[in-house]
Symmetry: C2
């Protein structure tokens, strides 16, 4: 094999490795999404068995995090990636941390669903389901943006986080009123509050992932700036 | 300069860069610790001005995260670290994410302290102060373990997280009782609950950082395993 062929061979193998690590992130993301979905279903339908399933499958998410993390270390040590490749690896390292935390939220909601399954249901569950749909959709779109390296879609997720926060604030207010109506509602009200809070955090993690995607594609770090500032950056970069 | 001297020169410069990034993490950690401490003080003393200060200085923490992250990318691209050096950089990347989230908690507690400052004080503040001390101490020890690459100390932090969790559970139960006694306590009780929850999360982040330290020093990933399993690993590695 001459030098050029060897180089090409190495770069093909490297590309295959990067492709593989990307796919593994998407598989992990898919599992986390599924767990969140099942945990919400379990909660709103009072289905303890489903809650148990959602909670129990978190160990798989944790295992995936560790193995992808190892793979990233290996790539960094062996391939010494630069530019976009390096940003991709950095994005993966950060994204899986957020995905793992989302997995923890699914586990938590699953466990609360078990607790709440044999208690009287609240009419607040409709709002919780709505919040759950928003949070899951945000996560799905963030992973989609990662898969397609789609800055526009990532920006939609960043902007959309306000909607989840508003839904959370509204639900919190309703729950406080509900608890004030009858002190016997307090314990259950607080459990539902934790679920709402967990979903709000899922939205935050989706936003984090979306911000990493913008960084990966444009090479600009857009954390801790307003959506308007990010859009300025996107405009500048794509002009 | 001959080849050997050049190599030595490059490696000295590289060591200086690694040392610099380590110091920056410790500076960031120190600031986060200070913010957490001030936020707790603000809360238990009903000091709105101090709460405002703790909340406002979070932007500095965010800026530090971004700049250390950039420095890590630069080191990865230019120096292509391996083995312990690579693990150090990976540990830094993960540690600053956790520190940034702790900074968010300090901001949150600071804001809640402002809210609560002009309301009647609860006698639950003693327990909150105790939790705050535990959480701050855990964070301090985790950063110390990072600075000294001290696996034993890191393990203490990992084991100690249960104590924070227990304090949190006890406080939550007390708060529910307090809210049940008088519905007018509910809103305030929930605010205090959020503070307790934030402190419990600070403990989790300290534990995460301690686990990264074990990984950095031993090259073993100890997340998602029990403290007993970690101790086995430590024994094996130091035998």
């Amino acid at each position: 094999m001459n030098q050029d062929m060897l180089k090409k061979h190495i770069s093909q193998q490297f590309n295959a490795e990067l492709e593989d690590v990307r796919n593994r992130v998407l598989t992990m993301g898919g599992l986390v999404e599924k767990n969140v979905g099942e945990a919400i279903e379990a909660l709103v339908n009072g289905d303890a068995a489903l809650g148990e399933m959602a909670a129990k499958s978190d160990y798989q998410v944790n295992r995936m995090e560790l193995s992808i993390d190892e793979e990233c270390s290996r790539i960094l040590a062996r391939r010494q990636p630069a530019a976009l490749d390096l940003r991709l690896v950095m994005t993966v390292i950060k994204t899986i941390t957020d995905l793992e935390r989302v997995g923890d939220k699914a586990e938590k909601i699953g466990r609360l669903a078990i607790e709440l399954a044999n208690q009287e249901r609240l009419d607040r569950y409709k709002e919780l389901r709505y919040m759950g749909e928003l949070a899951r959709e945000a996560l799905h779109q963030a992973l989609d943006a990662f898969a397609r390296m789609d800055v526009e879609l990532a920006m939609q997720v960043v902007r959309g986080d306000d909607v989840i926060d508003d839904a959370y604030d509204a639900l919190t207010r309703q729950l406080v009123t509900y608890m004030m109506e009858d002190p016997r509602n307090i314990r259950r009200g607080i459990d539902v509050l934790w679920c709402a809070r967990a979903l709000e955090r899922v939205g935050d993690h989706a936003k984090n992932i979306a911000e990493y995607v913008v960084y990966m594609v444009l090479g600009k770090d857009v954390r801790h700036v307003t959506p308007e500032q990010i859009e300025d950056e996107v405009r500048k970069a794509t002009r």
